[in-house]
């Protein structure tokens, strides 16, 4: 059992309160997993800037030498915002190059996310504590996905916590368990993907990452997932400007969606949605098994 929530704001109306509502939703899903939690928020960086969220787990870390060295390597400005053991680097340089440079040169640090919109925080412990530690409630933006974990397939660690990143501005949260993840991990490693954990959900993220890298759209990648992933899953996937949901064809894992003119919310349980503004006028439905749902902001 795990709890997942996603909130996608179609209009400006609640964007100043994105974190507030996401934190309230996450709170309701504590009962589905107290092992660890994480969240990704999408809020566009300044024009021409890319963000990286970095983690130095459980260690005090002086980020300024890393930022300075990265500035030299990219020949571009890098600003740093530190939040406990996480840091957000924002740069005018090439985001992919920045990510690769940190992976190659600062191995003691994990790159949690990169992209023009995404910031990603995760930690072991009570979801409420994780939300308050990284100040989820004050976040603004267009959409967010979050997860509470009750570990089954791998250890309780920060790296085993969700969301898992699948590429620039793309991440995934998972409720369920995959049965062919070991076999699939081997195949993906042959395709050039790398994995940090024994976690099954990371394999799902790696799968999408591979498909997206091969040129699939998110819909195409999810069609592939329906064919190649074996097991139980409800996924919520955050992408640049959008949000998607997929349940396996047997659909043992719960999901409910509510939609108004202003927002789309999904969760493992309705109680995470019950207190959202104007929920009385929302259209509420259970997503069909094996069907891809996606929403995106008009470009």
């Amino acid at each position: 059992m795990c709890g997942i929530v996603g909130l996608f704001l179609k209009t400006e109306k609640y964007r100043h309160e994105l974190g507030l509502h996401t934190a309230a939703m996450l709170h309701e899903m504590r009962g589905r997993g107290l092992d660890s939690a994480g969240f990704a928020v999408y809020d566009p960086a300044r024009e021409g800037h890319t963000r990286l969220t970095l983690l130095s787990e459980g260690r005090e870390f002086d980020w300024s030498p890393t930022a300075a060295a990265l500035e030299t390597a990219l020949n571009a400005e890098v600003t740093v915002r530190q939040i406990l053991d996480h840091a957000v680097f924002e740069t005018t340089g090439d985001g992919r190059a920045a990510r690769q440079w940190i992976i190659d040169n600062v191995p003691e640090v994990d790159v949690l996310s990169h992209g023009r919109q995404i910031e990603l925080y995760k930690s072991v412990g009570d979801p409420d504590l994780v939300a308050s530690r990284y100040d989820l409630a004050s976040r603004t933006g267009t959409h967010a996905i979050a997860h509470t974990r009750m570990a089954t397939e791998s250890a309780v660690t920060t790296n085993g916590s969700h969301p898992f990143v699948t590429g620039a501005d793309t991440c995934l949260v998972h409720n369920g368990s995959l049965s062919n993840h070991n076999q699939l991990r081997k195949k993906l490693v042959q395709q050039g993907e790398s994995f940090q954990t024994e976690n099954d959900s990371e394999v799902a993220a790696g799968y999408l990452s591979w498909r997206l890298r091969e040129g699939d759209t998110i819909d195409e990648a999810l069609h592939g997932a329906l064919r190649d992933l074996d097991g139980f899953y409800t996924f919520a996937i955050g992408v640049e400007n959008g949000f998607a949901i997929l349940r396996d064809p047997i659909a043992c894992k719960p999901a409910v969606v509510a939609e108004t003119d202003d927002w789309v919310a999904m969760s493992s349980e309705y109680r995470a949605i019950a207190m959202l503004p104007d929920v009385a006028h929302a259209s509420v439905f259970e997503p069909d098994p094996g069907r891809i749902y996606s929403w995106s902001l008009a470009a």
Binding site: A251, C252, P254, V256, E269, Y270, R271, V284, D288, P289
Partner: protein, 233 residues
């Protein structure tokens, strides 16, 4: 009859369910359910419970007797293991509504998700909209009435329950077949539609039931089997 208000914004779920279970009779209105689980579970007296809003898992679960009406939607396991009485929701239910029910009536005005009436043992379920895949899976007794469409594998591994569908059936499960609608079936269907307050013509429905091939001993090639036995192979 005066109605007692039980506000879940003011009292705990346990207090609510204890109040209901400790009442010999009476009418109750539950407000602010906000998707809470196990609302009005385990009722065993002839109470009448009206819930204003959507509920979470196992609403009216283990329902022995009495009436529960939900003005809204319900999540997994609505009225699971119902024995008698009535559970009626105005919205839609997600998975496994009426699962393993032994008796009584479950009415869902909207749609029902996957595995509606799984392992039903005598309950009657009337769904105003569609049902999800594997509905009435391993059903043993009772009736499932669907005014809309049924998704894949309807009535898979069915024993003796009756399924009536007005709309389209995406596919039938193993050992589930279309069956003749005889006078007694029309009578049952007419009664259930009336009890559920559904306006539909029984003549528009198709009945499905068990082919009874799956749960009887069946050897595909009996000659080969006997020959093998006689030679001791």
């Amino acid at each position: 009859m005066t109605e007692t208000i039980l506000d879940l914004a003011e009292i705990t779920l346990r207090e609510l369910n204890q109040t209901l279970q400790n009442s010999a009779n009476g009418a109750f209105r539950v407000t602010n359910p906000r998707g809470a689980h196990a609302v009005a579970a385990g009722l065993h007296t002839d109470v009448e419970v009206h819930i204003d809003g959507s509920v979470g898992y196992y609403c009216a679960g283990m329902h022995q007797v009495g009436t529960v009406r939900v003005e809204g939607n319900a999540s997994t396991g609505l009225a699971e293991n119902i024995m008698s009485g009535k559970v009626h929701i105005t919205g839609s239910a997600t998975m496994s509504a009426g699962a393993t029910g032994n008796g009584g009536l479950v009415v869902i005005e909207g749609n029902s998700g996957a595995r509606c009436g799984i392992s039903m043992k005598g309950v009657d379920i009337v769904v105003g909209g569609n049902v999800g895949h594997m509905s009435a899976f391993m059903g043993q007794a009772g009736n499932l009435v669907v005014l809309g469409d049924a998704a894949n594998d309807l009535g898979d591994s069915l024993y003796e329950a009756n399924i009536f569908v007005r709309g389209k059936v995406a596919s039938l499960g193993a050992d589930c077949i279309e069956k003749e609608m005889r006078a007694e079936h029309v009578e049952t269907l007419t009664r259930l539609l009336a009890e559920a307050g559904m306006d539909a013509d029984p003549a528009d429905f198709t009945r499905f039931g068990s082919a009874r091939e799956l749960y009887n001993f069946h050897v595909d090639d009996i000659d080969a089997e006997l020959a093998a036995r006689s030679t001791g192979a």
